[in-house]
């Protein structure tokens, strides 16, 4: 345990660097430059050989979820120290972590954080922004540091750990929580536009129609055009009410 903690402490500057590693993202090698940058930094700190990665391979393709890159670094260090072929696992594990991370962080955690922040905004609007940043970044920073620790501790077996904690289901759980809070937001929106009347059937009908229209149209047109179409419809309604 102490051994791992020492390594974690020693790798701290590399882990902080990992926040910025995506800055050269491009359609040629995706995050390849950043990953090469991190590996070289890590190998310098731990005096380990880079194997094939050490040669002129910056143009190599590398793409994973940015919140999972430190898992790869931990695994790399573990494999390099035990003399394994460090280049072999790169594409396989990057894809697995990419799929896991995209599903949880991008697809599910953002809506959940958003709806939780909206509820905070109802009571204290200023805290909503801080809550959003803190809540999301607990996972972000947590995965960065814990990822390196687990990647080093479990090596290539780290995928089994994800299976053990049923990580693939976290996304579904977060989505259900988002929908629960979406329902709550819906109720508050109706209360807002109902003015003082607690059960305003017209308001319920109007909002339900808008919700169903959004649900149906999203199958055929993307979000910006749904928003434009919605704004045009709302404008027309508003103008008609003024006539």
């Amino acid at each position: 345990m102490d051994n791992i903690m020492k390594r974690l402490f020693k790798a701290l500057p590399t882990l902080i660097r990992s926040i910025f590693y995506q800055a050269n993202w491009n359609i040629e090698n995706m995050q390849g430059t950043g990953f090469s940058w991190l590996l070289k930094d890590l190998s310098k700190r731990f005096n380990i050989g880079l194997g094939n990665i050490g040669s002129n391979k910056r143009a190599d393709y590398f793409n994973t979820n940015p919140y999972f890159v430190t898992f790869m670094l931990g695994m790399f260090l573990k494999e390099a120290e035990s003399g394994q072929a460090v280049d072999e696992y790169k594409s396989t594990y990057a894809s697995v972590f990419g799929a896991l991370g995209d599903s949880f962080f991008w697809h599910s955690l953002r809506p959940l954080t958003f709806f939780l922040s909206l509820f905070i905004a109802l009571y204290e609007p200023m805290f909503a922004m801080f809550f959003y940043l803190i809540f999301f970044n607990i996972f972000n920073i947590g995965f960065k540091f814990l990822g390196f620790y687990l990647g080093y501790n479990y090596g290539t077996n780290v995928i089994d750990l994800f299976r053990t904690v049923s990580f693939a289901n976290w996304s579904d759980i977060a989505d259900m929580a988002s929908i629960f809070f979406m329902g709550g937001t819906f109720a508050l929106a109706i209360k807002y536009i109902s003015n003082s009347d607690p059960i305003n059937s017209v308001a319920i009908f109007k909002t339900a129609i808008f919700f169903i229209v959004g649900f149906v149209t999203s199958k055929y047109i993307n979000a910006p055009f749904t928003l434009i179409a919605g704004a045009i419809i709302v404008t027309a309604i508003m103008l008609l009410q003024n006539i």
Partner: protein
């Protein structure tokens, strides 16, 4: 607008673009940007509502592989700046017109993001051709990437916002009305909630149950 507010907008536009590309600390989320602008200009509620509407555009996309997301950060930034600087009146339809213009402007702004990625590609290809492969050159490429993203945010976000500002200014508000637009913004918000409802995982029936339970809990408790 005071000098301090101007400086804040300068850095906010730069960091929002930077965060989208290279940091991912969520400073670039529309609801966060709009809240910061709202606090700065004392327009917090309307800015949060605008940020929440544009937040859906980002939530309905997942950056898988080479997908470059539509620049919802710009939308949050631009709409909040426009309302904070008085380009959009609280009591007329210009807010809806502004939403349409900002949403349309997302596309050219996103295009500049694509060109930034192409610039990054050009830089690595050049470094590769010159056979430079050491930590310093990697570090240089990362720093250039961060700088380009920052500059893109400052120039493109503010230029596009200025264009929308001028368009709104010249239209001369034929749509003046005394109806509060917040009512209609809430309707737009619900419309986009319907889109997100389809996007989230799960069986439709189970999702409906969770939606109704959440609705009932909120209705009773709040």
């Amino acid at each position: 607008m005071s000098l301090q507010q101007g400086i804040l907008l300068f850095f906010l536009s730069g960091f929002a673009s930077l965060d989208r590309v290279g940091i991912n600390m969520m400073l670039s989320r529309p609801i966060v940007i709009s809240s910061i602008i709202g606090i700065t200009f004392d327009q917090i509620l309307i800015c949060i509502l605008l940020g929440a509407i544009f937040e859906f555009i980002g939530m309905l996309e997942v950056p898988v592989g080479t997908v470059i997301l539509k620049d919802d950060s710009f939308a949050g930034y631009s709409s909040s700046v426009l309302i904070s600087l008085g380009a959009i009146s609280h009591n007329n339809l210009s807010i809806l017109l502004a939403i349409i213009l900002v949403t349309l402007m997302i596309y050219p702004v996103t295009l500049t993001d694509i060109y930034c990625r192409k610039f990054n590609k050009l830089m690595i290809t050049r470094a590769f051709n010159e056979n430079k492969s050491n930590e310093n050159s990697d570090s240089f490429l990362i720093r250039i990437g961060l700088l380009v993203s920052f500059i893109r945010g400052v120039i493109i976000y503010n230029l596009a916002t200025l264009l929308i500002f001028l368009t709104l200014y010249n239209i001369d508000y034929f749509t003046k009305t005394e109806v509060s637009p917040i009512y209609y913004l809430v309707l737009l918000f619900i419309l986009l909630m319907g889109c997100l409802f389809r996007f989230l995982n799960g069986e439709l029936f189970i999702k409906l149950i969770f939606l109704v339970v959440g609705f009932a809990a909120s209705w009773i408790i709040l």
